[in-house]
């Protein structure tokens, strides 16, 4: 592998990593508060990409408008899922997981009759390439890094600087105590669902011009996000960010050298070994 190829894979890895981080952040946030894993995250990613296809490509709206529409529409969808699935089951972790699994398979399968059998493509939003350190990188992929970065910073500020963010942290520490202090746990959990779904939609919307669109497209990023949160430690936001960057780099460099599938197999072996020797992940706290 030449140096140029390494630089190129590193930059592509960072941009992939940014997508993984957006996915993993929502998952880890929801896990921290509600102790559930949102299996529907991949399906929401897929829906986010399809919103871009219909609103931006078919509808002719500006890309950023379509991007915001995807986040808002799927954020509302997340809130509704909290109302109609999470809340009625009331804290039963296992039935909630199974219900979310069912929602996932429903959205994926319904995607075929609704969106059609054929793969869809979205034309490039930022065409062209840019030369960095002597290697050409598509601007499309480069642009993902600042947009995802802005969303991550926004989420960080929201959680740490606002009253609602404080309420989320309170629920994460102790749900009952938070409720006793006047936090409306239901509404804040709904908000966490909305934020998680909106971030997954954003990831899908960012990837829409790069990958082909089909109803199963969310499965890979979902599995990557699982690996990241196991790597970084469940519930840990810094863990999700670092894990995402690591996996993005591994994915891109190993994939360039060996192919995408061996890269995935390798990361799986890695997390199994990690669980053997450091069960709470790199940054996780003991449950």
């Amino acid at each position: 592998m030449t140096l140029a190829l390494l630089v190129q894979s590193a930059i592509i890895g960072m941009s992939l990593g940014s997508i993984y981080i957006l996915m993993a952040l929502g998952l880890t946030l929801m896990f921290g508060m509600m102790h559930i894993i949102n299996f529907a995250h991949g399906a929401v990613y897929m829906l986010g990409a399809f919103v871009i296809y219909y609103v931006f490509f078919q509808g002719g709206a500006p890309y950023f408008a379509a991007f915001v529409v995807a986040m808002i529409v799927l954020g509302i969808f997340g809130y509704l899922v909290e109302r109609s699935i999470y809340r009625p089951i009331r804290g039963g972790i296992e039935p909630t997981l199974v219900a979310l699994l069912a929602l996932t398979t429903f959205l994926q399968a319904a995607g075929y009759p609704v969106f059609g059998q054929l793969d869809k493509h979205v034309p490039p939003v930022f065409p062209g390439t840019r030369t960095i350190l002597g290697v050409g990188i598509s601007i499309e992929r480069l642009m993902i890094i600042p947009i995802a970065g802005a969303l991550v910073v926004g989420l960080y500020l929201f959680i740490n600087r606002t009253r609602l963010g404080a309420a989320m942290r309170a629920i994460e520490q102790d749900k009952e105590a938070a409720a006793l202090q006047g936090v409306n746990v239901n509404v804040v959990n709904g908000l966490a669902f909305a934020i998680g779904f909106a971030l997954a939609a954003a990831s899908g919307a960012l990837m829409a011009p790069i990958f082909k669109l089909d109803p199963m497209m969310g499965e890979q990023p979902l599995l990557k996000a699982f690996i990241i949160i196991i790597l970084g430690g469940l519930g840990s936001i810094p863990g999700a960010i670092l894990g995402g960057l690591m996996l993005g780099l591994i994915d891109s460099i190993v994939a360039t050298a060996l192919g995408a599938e061996p890269a995935f197999l390798l990361s799986f072996v890695f997390i199994i070994l990690l669980l053997l020797f450091r069960p709470t992940g790199l940054f996780g706290y003991a449950p």
Binding site: I37, I89, A99, A109, I227, I230, E261, I272, L273, L275
Partner: protein
């Protein structure tokens, strides 16, 4: 005592009906019901893990290991069915230990995530190891089951093999569930910290329950391989894994028959749209409706209906004494 006799009577009738399928129906029904038996084995073998409160979303991966191992042993080395089946089931169990040991010591969600990812791992291996598995061309030419020196050539004889395997597996799993071990699994599922405080080694028992499931999933896979005689990696994906869970939930988790009822009911009902997206849509809706409106599954339906009737009767207007 009378109830027990009634249950045994119903079971006897069901077994006799199952024995008569090849005589009464054609090859189509033989085929469908043999697949139903596979699904019943898969659903019932997931129960021990579920009873411990462990969500295994990767059961199809172990079926795949059993199927490919048994098929390759028989095809390449002419191993008889009884040994190739055992080989597939044992390999599935060993692989189960490798991924179960690290992930079962932790919270349930870790295990759930690891098993989901594992389905993809096995699919990729089956897909990429072309020299062994033929990859995406699919493994064809798998010999018919060769049992105790006899080759079962007719579909009907293979059907009886499936029926026998299912009954044996169900008997073993039922006995285990009724044994002390089954009680320990239940206690772990209800309150693992309490069970631990009473001296139960929860990690070991969770692993044992999971290994048993892997073994019988391997058995189901081996039968499937020699019955269908064609294996295709994506078949054993995420969808099949979730279906096995759906059988358990829709049938009902509270009793051993739940998994069986769920597997039979859903496999037969989804038969008209097998292989199309509508099959999955049907399964997902059945699952969501069950969890939201009938959390105990189909086996609690008679009870629910009786309760509803009582409630109606009680709510019926009665003349008030004041009037």
């Amino acid at each position: 005592m009378r109830r027990r006799a009634g249950v045994l009577g119903v079971l006897a009738i069901l077994v006799v009906l199952a024995l008569l399928v090849p005589q009464l129906g054609g090859d189509y029904y033989v085929h469908i019901f043999a697949l139903v038996f596979t699904n019943v084995i898969l659903a019932a073998s997931l129960r021990p893990s579920l009873t411990c409160g462990q969500l295994n979303i990767g059961h199809s991966a172990f079926m795949s290991i059993g199927a490919y191992t048994s098929a390759l042993l028989a095809k390449n080395l002419a191993v008889p069915f009884e040994l190739s089946l055992l080989g597939g089931a044992v390999l599935a169990t060993l692989v189960g230990v490798v991924i179960g040991y690290p992930s079962l010591r932790l919270r349930g969600v870790y295990f759930a995530m690891v098993t989901v990812a594992f389905v993809e791992v096995i699919r990729l291996i089956a897909q990429l190891w072309v020299s062994l598995t033929r990859g995406m061309s699919g493994l064809s030419g798998i010999p018919k089951p060769n049992l105790l020196g006899m080759t079962l050539t007719t579909k009907a004889s293979q059907y009886y093999l499936g029926l026998a395997l299912m009954l044996i597996v169900l008997l073993i799993l039922w006995k285990l569930e009724k044994s002390r071990l089954g009680l320990i699994w239940k206690s772990i599922g209800m309150a693992d910290n309490l069970a631990q405080s009473l001296g139960v080694d929860i990690a070991r028992h969770k692993l044992l329950a999971f290994m048993l499931g892997c073994f019988f999933a391997g058995v189901a896979g081996a039968f499937y391989a020699h019955f269908i005689r064609f294996l295709f990696p994506p078949e054993f994906g995420f969808l099949m894994a979730t279906n096995i869970l759906v059988y358990n939930y829709v049938g009902g988790r509270g009793h051993f028959v739940g998994a069986i009822v769920g597997a039979i009911f859903l496999s037969l009902l989804s038969e008209p749209f097998r292989g199309s997206p509508y099959e999955t849509i049907f399964f997902s809706i059945a699952m969501l409706l069950t969890i939201l409106f009938l959390p105990g599954g189909l086996i609690t339906l008679p009870e629910k209906l009786a309760g509803l009737r009582r409630w109606r009767a009680a709510a019926a207007p009665t003349p008030s004494p004041a009037a």
